[in-house]
């Protein structure tokens, strides 16, 4: 039977990064991909952060199949007929960009070819169906009837990882799973630039919450490719199960919203896509390795949340490669030797980053789920009052900014024990504000 040093399962960003790092060090590596080409099975839901990639392929900006640099980003909140948007444009960013939109089918294919160039053997169109074991130790992979022996197997086979299940490392926690439905909508580049207020070749990402998924804590994102706009809508898998949320119908609602309609009207559907991701990750450091096997990428739960899985995936792939190299020096690939993976990960700060991302995601998604409707209403109420100047024209009293901000944005989130003293403090501050404003009016008008 054939034997190699390392088999990497899955030629996504994590698997290819791992294979590149290993092959460059002269490790005999086979990279196995179930798609006819790498990227065939993958769906982007956000942008690509180039920092990690730049460390692997310097000057990638010139050769990678990227769409637009994303330096014009906004966050928004929708109600059925309304929207509020906060937009930030980083003008200087466009001069030296490192965040891009890209199509995964093209990007992953290009990146897997880099692994081939580095000397790894890329096997396409083969699904790894099981692991070969000897005394409980992983010694290779099974592809249907075929078998391939390896010193170590790296599982980079995605959210539905076969390797993690077969190795007994699967973390059964679907609480962070989000289902995303996406459409790639074709529009001429000039029309995209006009509608999204962009310069030639510039790109943007627009994230939002609220309608039509406010009841389940769903989120959406819109980003620009060169001649198409990608629209993704997400909802927690639990909500889809328990509340029987129909994401297909919600997607139509989203596209019909005035905000979206103005951006994507008269576009042509290029592709309809769906994928699950673990928002904020579900990485557990002691469930990433065992005798003869390592996990990286989404298979190991490396998804840094808010849909940004590619850089943390790549980084985990590089670190898995480092662990394999360190284990090779000892000549052993058992769990004890591979446990250096854990230390290497901690050195990079990746676990802390994932932990923070998880907390960030908890804050955004869970508080969105719990408070989204109330918060949205309060925010709209506050802005309606000021935008429509109802307060200025109808109320002879000075506008109570402190009281309004407290009632609208803070009061709902204050723990019960703190509500009374804080309420009293706000009352005092409010009276002070009123007195101060009246005094200023008397002195200036």
């Amino acid at each position: 039977m054939d034997k190699v040093d390392c088999v990497v399962v899955g030629a996504g960003p994590a698997g290819s990064a791992c294979a590149i790092a290993l092959a460059r060090k002269g490790i005999k590596t086979v990279l196995v991909e179930r798609g006819g080409n790498a990227g065939d099975k993958n769906v982007a839901s956000f942008v690509l952060f180039g920092d990690v990639l730049g460390g692997i392929i310097p000057g990638y900006q010139k050769e990678a199949p990227l769409e637009r640099a994303a330096g014009d980003n906004s966050f928004m909140c929708l109600r059925e007929k309304d929207f509020i948007e906060f937009r930030a444009r980083l003008g200087s960013y466009f001069e030296n960009p490192s965040i891009f939109t890209a199509y995964r089918s093209r990007f992953d294919r290009w990146f897997s070819e880099k692994a081939e160039e580095a000397g790894a053997e890329l096997v396409r169109g083969q699904l790894v169906t099981g692991l070969l074991k000897e005394n409980g130790r992983v010694v290779g992979i099974r592809v249907g009837e075929d078998e391939l022996l390896a010193d170590v197997v790296v599982g980079a086979d995605g959210i539905h990882s076969v390797v993690s299940r077969e190795a007994g490392l699967y973390v059964d926690d679907t609480s962070r799973y989000m289902i995303g439905v996406k459409e790639v909508l074709e529009l001429p580049p000039e029309v995209i630039e006009e509608r999204f207020l962009l310069g030639p070749g510039e790109g943007c990402v627009r994230d939002g919450w609220g309608y039509p998924v406010s009841d389940v804590g769903g989120l959406f994102t819109i980003y620009t490719n060169m001649d198409a706009v990608s629209v993704c809508l997400f909802a927690p898998v639990d909500a889809v199960k328990e509340a029987r949320v129909n994401l297909r119908e919600r997607f139509e609602d989203l596209k019909a919203h005035p905000y979206l309609h103005a951006l994507v009207r008269d576009s042509k559907l290029r592709e309809y896509e769906a994928h699950i991701l673990a928002d904020g990750g579900r990485m557990k450091v002691d469930r990433l390795y065992d005798d003869g096997v390592l996990l990286c990428g989404e298979a190991g739960g490396f998804n840094s949340g808010m849909w940004i899985g590619v850089p943390s995936g790549m980084l985990s792939g590089l670190k898995a490669a480092e662990a394999v190299l360190r284990a090779k020096r000892t000549g052993r690939y058992d769990a004890a030797a591979l446990s250096c993976y854990r230390d290497i990960l901690f050195e990079t700060g990746l676990p802390r980053m994932l932990y923070n991302a998880k907390r960030y995601s908890d804050f955004i998604v869970n508080s969105a789920r719990k408070h989204m409707e109330g918060f949205t209403d309060n925010l709209f109420g506050l802005l309606e009052d000021s935008i429509m100047q109802e307060v200025a024209f109808q109320d002879p009293e000075p506008f109570p900014a402190i009281e309004t901000a407290y009632a609208g944005l803070v009061a709902d989130y204050v723990p019960a024990w703190l509500a009374r003293p804080l309420r009293a403090l706000v009352g005092v501050l409010g009276r002070l504000e009123s007195w101060w404003t009246k005094r200023r009016i008397r002195r200036t008008v």
Partner: protein
């Protein structure tokens, strides 16, 4: 919320598939009769699960599967067995 029914067949006509003769989804249909919520019907983004009222049974087609795997997590009776299709088969995203 307005009543907007997506035309799923139209949507799927924009997706490339290399269809395998072998199904990668199996359903223990005898369990579906007692399932009341039937979340698979609304959950599948490709609307691959439908209920046949006349026959009173679940119909599914694996050919239009987008391979998100949502069905394996939403089935309350563990009746859906979903796995990756054989290598080289199934959905082939041209953009992704």
């Amino acid at each position: 919320m307005a009543d907007r029914k997506p035309d799923i067949d139209e949507k799927l006509s924009h997706v490339a598939f290399d269809i395998d003769a072998e199904a990668h989804i199996t359903v223990k249909k005898e369990r579906c009769g007692e399932c009341r919520p039937r979340p698979c019907l609304s959950a599948c983004p490709a609307e691959n699960y439908t209920w046949n009222e006349a026959k009173d049974e679940l119909l599914f087609n694996y050919e239009g599967c987008l391979e998100c795997g949502t069905c394996r997590f939403v089935c309350p009776l563990d009746a859906i067995e979903w796995s990756y299709p054989r290598g080289g088969f199934g959905v082939r995203y041209r953009y992704g």
